[in-house]
Structure formats: structure tokens, C-alpha cells
Amino acid sequence: MPEHETFDHDVLVIGAGGAGLRAAIEASAAGVSVGLVCKSLLGKAHTVMAEGGIAAALANVDDRDNWQVHFADTMRGGQYVNNWRMAELHAKEAPDRVRELEAWGALFDRTADGRILQRNFGGHRYPRLAHVGDRTGLEMIRTLQDRGIYMGIDVHMECTIVRLLKSAGRVSGAFGYDRERGRFKLFRAKAIVLATGGIGRAYKITSNSWEYTGDGHTLAYDAGAELIDMEFVQFHPTGMVWPPSVRGILVTEGVRGEGGVLKNNLGRRFMFDDIPELYRSQTADNEDEGWRYTQGDKTARRPPELLTRDHVSRCIVREIKEGRGSPHGGVFLDISWMAQRLPNAAEHIKKKLPSMYHQFKQLADIDITREPMEVGPTTHYIMGGVRVDADSQMSSVPGLFAAGECAAGINGANRLGGNSLSDLLVFGKRAGEFAAKFAQSRKADPIDSRQVEEAEYWALEPFARGTGGEGPYQVQYALQEMMQDLVGIVRNENEMQRALEGLASLRERAQKVGVGGNREYNPGWHAALDLHNLLTVSAAVTRSAIERRESRGGHFRGDYPDKDVAFGKINIIVRKAQDGRMEVSRAPIPEMPEELEQVIDKMK
């Protein structure tokens, strides 16, 4: 039997991005022992890529803002299938979470009177995003990381969890391997928080790093927890499209927030041509008004470039499909045009969007202060995830919590930019708090050694097959290609049925994948083990997307292009049945309390 090292923690947090770090800090502050596991080095998590900012109704820039407006914006953006309680908690608590970051050393850009500056973003009625240039995620993760390390949290870096362990129906631990040496690790824990991020690596064109293989989603699903809203995948409208090697890398929405405009190859601002009814009263109907909005004119309405991400992505796809795209299959995003309006436009752009300037200059030889960028949609975020209790973030498995992107509810059918960083903070804190309470209320359960042995055996199978088996990367690429083609931005029943067949045959291929070499820092082996997660979340996305026969938010059906009132009253749930099959069901959305209904009506 292979050996493993054993660690004991009251609370084990899996994932060290914004949500995981915030959960670990909160649990540690509650006085329990905390272990934090991350696949990369500490501080490298995908949160560093977040550019725009943290949405919180601080009302520093526009005093008309408050939690009710933020709540209403979030629900409208999510097309009303959000978990309203999460949206309420998020809007109410985000300001305190931002101020707390400042108390821990984060340095946000300032208003003229020295308070935290806030910027405009898609779907937010008022300037609401606390930010640091266009590197807010880095500021946030470094602040949390530095806060955490001085608290004595045990960090297990470059460690991958492959299985959750259960005793008597609740979680009792987790099993994984350290990437550096390939040794197995067993973590005994009284409560576990999943904070593993998203699933973007199931698609070919994505802004996500290699880590985003749906680990938390799959660990929870395999442990018997429910997943919800998995059909809602967000395709960010602006990823880089050229050169090929950078395809998918994110171009922040901040570019449009600062005055950048989208144009087709005829030079037309096509976003003015299709403004949805739900947003018509809030959207500028001429270019001048849109410009004034981006420059802080409170009487102006926002330009259509700042409509929600799902809508902007579909408009871009339409322009490309109808032959009005840019030379490399995107559309033009132009911020250089500001030179017509501002005297020191080039300096202004470099100051407001330093890393975008840097990114295009270095990777594409484009000076964004002088010429337009080429952009197209890129897989960015999954609204769906582990179904959790709104207040405590506990899943349907006792002792198993989830927060951040791998949990679901707050965003409904579509997430607003800036609501992710605030989600990580608000619900990371709650998950840490309630996981600590749960851990304090119980004794550690014994570990079932059969579960451990079974996981060890499973993890070593690819070596047993050796290099004679199929290569892990080839299966991964085939999956990404297929999901991009068949379960992408525009979906159809027959294509998705083909995807299900494809997934079944990819599952067979994955079971034949073999790797050579040894267990020390072996990326081929890691990729082989990740396939199970990618295949599981891909199936969950596809089956949920087949079930929702309407179009809403990030989920667009070519064969059902309209919204259906009946589907607006339910969420789609996925769980593992007794016989191992993936079971899809519908759950009615609980009725919203009267006072929240009124808030939404008032903001319409």
C-alpha cells in the first residue's frame, strides 16, 4: 500500500484565492487550527488576474448609491434567478469587507477628498468599483496573503486534493498529493471549505489559468453535494484574439468603463443597435451622452458598451458571424479615440489602464493609446457551482462549505463585473466563520481507510498504464475543442446531445490515459488526474443547459431564443444518484420577502 503523510486541522480550506484566504483568516481569527491547501504557490491564484475592481456601495463617488441599488443591480444582472438572500447579504456586507481590506494595508486609488475612489462598470447604476488602477486582484490577494501568513495559518502549497473523505454522512477529511514530490497527503478535518474557483479550462478559449479545472465542483459532487445553475457560464466579451498564443487573455471591462468603445469593421458602434428592454431606460441613446457618463457626469446614462457581459458577448458574436468583424475574427475595442476629447489622452490611458497598455504592447505590439485593440468573447466565469445555504455557505453535505466561484447563488444567470471580488470577501468570510463554528461543535471523525486506499489506487493508475496509454493532453484538448464548439455561447439541443455522446467517449479515453516518468513534479500525471474533474463539470454544464429550454443571462439557446417565465421560477440542480448516474432536477426558487420585492420595483 502506498504511503501517505497525515495532517490534522479543525478547518481545512481548499484553494487560496480571495475566497479561500478570506475564509482561512476568519476561521483562524475564531481560534481554530486552519490548514490552507493550494495547487500553486501562495499568492499566484487566479484572483490576481481580476483587474476592474471590487463592487461595494460605499457611495464615495455618487451619494445616491446604497445597498438597495447594488442589490437591485445584481438581481437584474442575474435575470432574477439569483439566490436573493445571498444577493442581499452581499450588497449589505461588501462595503465593510472593502474597508476591512484597507485596515489590513490595501491601498486603493483615492477621491479628491482622500476616500476610496470608485469606477463605473457594466450593469452597475453608479460608480461602485473600488480599485487600484487595473490590478485590483493583485492588491487584494497580496493584502489577504500577508494578513494570513502572520496569523500562523498552515499553508500546504502546490498540493492537489483528489478526494473528499466522509464518515457517517459528513466530511471527515481530504486526500491529495503534493505536486513537488508526488507524495500523498491525508488531511483530517472537522470542517472543509471549498474555494477552488471555476471551470474555464473545460473550454478552448478562456481567460482562466490551468488551475481552473472544476476541482471543487467535482469534489463536492462526488461527495454527494448538489450543484446548481451549472448551465450559466459567462463568456467575457473582451478577450484578446491575436496573436494566437494569447487568444482568450482578458481585456478588462475597465477599458469600456474609462470610455473605450466597440466598433465593427464599418466603424459603426454596433452596441447602440441592440439595447434590451430591461435596460433601455438606463442606457444612453447617443454617443455624447455615453462619453459624458464615463467622465463622471451624473445626469448622463451609461453607454451601451457597459450593458451586461452576456449581452455584449452575443452582440460581438453576431457582428463576427455577419461578416463585420476585425481581420483576426474579433471586433475593435478603441480607447485611442479619446484623443479627440481629452488633451493628454495617451498619458491618461496609461495611468488608468497601465497593465492593459503593457499587455498589448508586449504581447501584440499594439499601442492602445494610438490604435484599436481586437477583441472577442472568452470563457471567463461560471455562475453555477455548489449549492449552499445563503447565510452559512454550507452545502447539502454536513461540514462541507463552499465560497467564491465554486459556490453558486449570488450571480444567478449572469454575474456583473466587480461582483466577484466582493463575493469572495463577503462569502469567504462567512464560510470561514461558520466552518469554524461547525468544527468547534464536534469531534474529529475517524477516517475510513478503505476510502483512502481506493483514492491512492486511483491516483496511481496512469503510471500503471505507462506511456503506452493515450496522452493526457490530447484528451484534454479534444474536450476543450468540443465544449467550445457544442456547448459555447450559442447552444442547441442537437449539438448538446452530440456533446453528451462525445463526453462518454472522452470518458473512455480518459480511463486509458497513461503517463511516464515518476511522481516528482510531473505535469503529465497532474493533467491525467484533472481529466476526471473536467469531464464531470462538462457533463454538468451540458446536462443543465439541455434542461433549461429558454435563453437567460449567460445561457443562450439558439433553439429557444426567448426568456420563458416558467423557467424564471426555477433553478436546475445536478447531483450524483445512488447508481453513479448524473441526475438533473428542477428546484423552485423560494419566494422573495415583500421588502426586497419593493426594492426591486423601486429601482426598475
Binding site: 500553486s40 504557490l41 499568492g43 499566484k44 491564484a45 487566479h46 490576481v48 488576474m49 474597508r99 484597507e102 485596515a103 494595508g105 491601498l107 486609488d109 483615492r110 482622500g114 476616500r115 476610496i116 487600484v132 488602477g133 490590478r135 493583485l138 497580496r142 500577508d146 494578513r147 501568513i149 502572520y150 502549497m157 513537488e180 489559468s209 490551468w210 488551475e211 496573436p243 494566437p244 498564443s245 494569447v246 487573455i249 497593465s355 503593457h358 499587455q359 508586449q362 504581447l363 501584440a364 506511456t467 496522452g471 493526457p472 493532453y473 490530447q474 484538448y477 503517463v515 511516464g516 516518468g517 515518476n518 516528482e520 513534479y521 510531473n522 505535469p523 503529465g524 500525471w525 493533467a527
Partner: protein, 246 residues
């Protein structure tokens, strides 16, 4: 489509050697793309760290043709592809496997710097007021992505191996970010002089030259910290004052 040769360090903690791989190259490719292509097609077990692939996380540090670089931000058209491109791990840290090194010392060294300690809030609601100009001075240091290329190139660490006496440029930048933070009230001069070993830096500016974020490490962070140490510890008037007081 043309091909190029990449001479990549393959090895373990104990031993290693360069191996040549030739692979197709296309427009816009960066070094990390070539490494990934080789990994997918020819050497599944080729070890390399990476995450964001956009110069924002600082994971893929290596030495490309002898220069400390982020592989994701080094474009092939900046290199002479008529010759093999050498790619080797950072040499200041213990090798783990292939291009991956053990950088854990850096996480230990950071803990020797005293954490952030803010002054009491300025306003009744528990918040502070800061001027944009004061914030900007420190934001330069907070751009650091912890790629550790400055540590890799610093001769105090690379040649003299003084890991137990000098925290290296990265952590002096970290200390500078705290010392110059508009809200911070902690004193760090004593530790900077003793355990952090700021005196070992003889301002050759190698760190500044390799910083992918363009942080002016020596001029803006280390030299002002050195001045602060002198002001607080060597100032003759302060010294006299201390003698009399004790």
C-alpha cells in the same frame, strides 16, 4: 511555420543536463508557449510552473539565454532563433525538477519583516483619508508580482549565498511598501539593519534591471530605506539623546 530549437534544462535536485527539442514556432509565440508545446507533444513530464500567462502572477520565472525572465512575457521574435534558445531554472534557488526550483525560502524571509500597523482611523466611521499622491508612491512597490527574479539576480544571494543574513531585494521592496505606507506607524529600521541585512546591498541595480514590473527597486525602495536606517540608528543627536535618556 518554421521550427526552432530549445535547449532545456532537464534534471532533478541531484543532477541534470540540457536537452534539445525542436518544435514549430508561429507568430506571436512566447517562450512559455514553446515549452508547453514541447510538454504536450514530446515530454509530458517536463516540469514548469505557470499560471496566468499574462505577466501578472510571477510563476514562470526562468533564465532564458542566461537572462532572468518571465517565460510568458518573452516573445520568440525578440530572440535569435537561428541558435538554440537555452531555458534553465533560476540558479539562486535549489532545483526541484527541470525548470522548477524550491522558492520556499522567500516565504520564510518575508516573515522577518514586521507586519502592517495602521494609525487610528481618521474619521468617526473608522475610515482613513489619504491623498492620491501619497498612495501612488507606495503603489509602485505593491505592483510586485513576487516572481523572485530580483532575488535570482542579486549577487548577495546568487554568489555569496547569504540567505540567513540578507532578505534580498524583494523583501526590501516589501519593507519599503510598509515603511512608506501613509497609514503605517511601525518601526522597522533596527531589523532592516540586523536580521534583514540591508547593508549587504551595494546598489549595483541588477535587481532593478530584471524587474518585469519596472519597479525602480534600488533607487526608490532600497536607498530610501538605507537612509532611514542611518537617520534612525546612526544619527549622532539621536544617539546622544538615547545615551542621556538611558
Amino acid at each position: 511555420m518554421s521550427t526552432a530549437t530549445f535547449r532545456i534544462w532537464r534534471g532533478t535536485a541531484q543532477a541534470g543536463k540540457f536537452e534539445d527539442y525542436s518544435t514549430d514556432v508561429s507568430e506571436g509565440m512566447v517562450v512559455l508557449d514553446a515549452v508547453h508545446q514541447i510538454q504536450a507533444q514530446q515530454a509530458n513530464d517536463l516540469a514548469v510552473r505557470w499560471n496566468c500567462k499574462a505577466g501578472k502572477c510571477g510563476s514562470c520565472s526562468a533564465e532564458v539565454n542566461g537572462h532572468p525572465r518571465l517565460m510568458c512575457m518573452t516573445r520568440l521574435n525578440q530572440l535569435n532563433l537561428a541558435e538554440p534558445v537555452t531555458i534553465e531554472p533560476m540558479r539562486s534557488f535549489p532545483p526541484v525538477r527541470d525548470l522548477v526550483t524550491d522558492v520556499s525560502w522567500n516565504f520564510q524571509a518575508k516573515l522577518s519583516i514586521k507586519p502592517f500597523k495602521p494609525r487610528p482611523p481618521d474619521a468617526a466611521d473608522g475610515t482613513w483619508r489619504m491623498a492620491q499622491a501619497d498612495v501612488e508612491r507606495v503603489q509602485e512597490f505593491r505592483k510586485c508580482i513576487e516572481c523572485f527574479l530580483c532575488q535570482d539576480v542579486c549577487h548577495v544571494l546568487r554568489e555569496h549565498r547569504l540567505y540567513d543574513r540578507f532578505v534580498g531585494p524583494r523583501h526590501l521592496v516589501y519593507a519599503a511598501a510598509l515603511e512608506m505606507h501613509p497609514l503605517d506607524v511601525e518601526h522597522r529600521a533596527r531589523e532592516l539593519k540586523t536580521s534583514d541585512g540591508i547593508g549587504f546591498c551595494n546598489i549595483t541595480k541588477c535587481c532593478t534591471n530584471v524587474c518585469p514590473e519596472g519597479i525602480t527597486i534600488t533607487d526608490n525602495a532600497i536607498i530610501p530605506l538605507k537612509e532611514r536606517v542611518i537617520d534612525e540608528i546612526y544619527d549622532p543627536i539621536v544617539k546622544l539623546f538615547r545615551i542621556f535618556r538611558s
